[in-house]
Symmetry: C2
Subunit: 289 residues, 2 copies
């Protein structure tokens, strides 16, 4: 049992829980993109129980206003809070960029991890003093969240940010590679100048983008480091559980609960590609926020 | 003054209105795509006052469940109903396919026009007994709304329906033509078989698609009739106003009010392309449903 008072971890439903350590980790995203983070969490922490909520009724967040994004993120967080969780992972770059402080207040003293800070830390560690290119949604770029997080760690770093909204729909459609995906990536990169100078690292600043990794890598002339915040976020989550001594000690594999606010059939079809395993509509429970 | 009781047209705010004929036509869409219909209405009925509501906070509708789409459409309709309108145009194919009957009940006795029936009628008129290809969103295709509307008018017609979700994002990004747009259209058409036999008519079954008309036309080997429901819907709206004798007799050009549920800046930037004129964020009033 860690430093978090057990009462804070029981959720609003008042259910008694013998051991906080067995409570699930809550993972929240605007849709199915965050399943790339869920996949990394399962690999990093195979014994943890996980509960995932995709706010599919209101996706995408990336083109919406900060006020709407904050309100939606807060409602989704409340849903997970009521289930009783020991850690919240905000697996959506847009929500992390816009609403992380609000969600930390709401969840206090339960810890909250976003995806922006782990991604920025990984990029700086890979290429100190380097040149970073952030591919993200409009809202994430507008807020300059990656730029700030990188410069806090490395004031000498060069940071460019590029809104690539169409890549979200491309990933959702499952058109992962081939000439269409590559042309779209190249056209976005063309907005950086012609010819653009290649960065040292490319940060996948949207959880939809890891499944487009090959198409993105192929658009650069030389080899670049591709930073995917999914695995670094999972590592941060493990460190948090360890430092708070709330690791699940059970021997068996952790359970997985999937919640969505709309469209179980589509969630299963598209989400399976992100999670890397087949899903059926019956695996997903639809909840109203 | 027409056959609709004036009391039914005054809206819930109870404001007295000297002349029903001067009340605006309400136009509703999930986002900015419906501005192609608004543009056609302005051309067809330049003296009518128009009020447009784009539910940008919850777009896109095309990937969501019928229950969510109905609820959203009903809330948006209530907002327009409260302003006092004499005709509702549902300028969203998905909402027309899913919720038209519900919205007609809700607005009764105020008339309601969707975009599916005018589009189907125009296709049948252009190519009686022909072969029609409907390009639309997932939800519109799943419901087979165009297939039904065409077969009611022409039982011998051949109808194929193709969900082209990525075209919505492409139109929103404003990438109207060029090799990327054409490749995406060709890839979708490839799903019809290889080589697909060209249809007689192609129905643009999503209000986002008219701005992609050139890219769509170029993907066919032979000339096809492109049916855009915007202009046919505007013609139906004019006929309805005439048959009910509620045409606006004023001499001056009609007013235009633009409402959105989120993101005035993005609405102005993207919407300007659909409306065919420059918009500023100050032109759009953000409302909460």
């Amino acid at each position: 049992m860690g430093i978090i008072p057990q009462s804070a971890l029981l959720g609003h439903n008042g259910a008694m829980n013998a051991d906080v350590n067995t409570l699930p980790i809550g993972v929240f995203d605007s849709g199915v993109g965050g399943l790339t983070v869920l996949k990394a969490l399962r690999e990093e922490l195979p014994r943890e129980n996980l509960i995932y909520l995709g706010d599919t009724a209101r996706l995408p967040y990336g083109t919406k206003s900060p006020a709407s994004i904050s309100r939606y993120a807060s409602q989704a967080t409340r849903q997970l809070q009521e289930q009783g969780i020991k850690l919240l992972v905000v697996a959506c770059n847009t929500a992390s960029a816009v609403a992380l402080d609000t969600l930390r207040e709401q969840m206090h003293p339960v810890p909250v991890t976003g995806v922006v800070e782990p991604g920025a830390a990984a990029a700086v560690a890979a290429r100190p003093g380097g040149s970073h290119l952030v591919l993200a949604t409009e809202a994430t770029v507008r807020l300059g969240a990656y730029r700030r997080a990188i410069h806090e760690r490395d004031p000498d770093a060069e940071v460019r940010e590029l809104a690539c909204e169409l890549l979200v729909a491309l990933a959702e459609e499952g058109w992962r590679d081939g000439p269409i995906a590559e042309s779209i990536v190249r056209r976005y990169l063309g907005e950086l100048g012609n010819p653009p100078h290649d960065p040292d690292s490319v940060i996948l600043g949207c959880t939809h983008f890891p499944i487009l990794r090959d198409a993105i890598a192929s658009a650069f002339d030389q080899a670049v480091v591709i930073v995917d915040s999914a695995s670094t976020t999972a590592a941060v989550a493990r460190e948090q559980l360890q430092s708070l001594a709330i690791v699940n000690g059970q021997d068996s594999p952790g359970s997985l609960t999937l919640l969505a606010t709309d469209g179980a059939t589509r969630f299963a079809r598209v989400g399976g590609q992100f999670l890397g395993e087949d899903l059926a509509a019956e695996d997903i429970r639809v909840v109203d926020l």
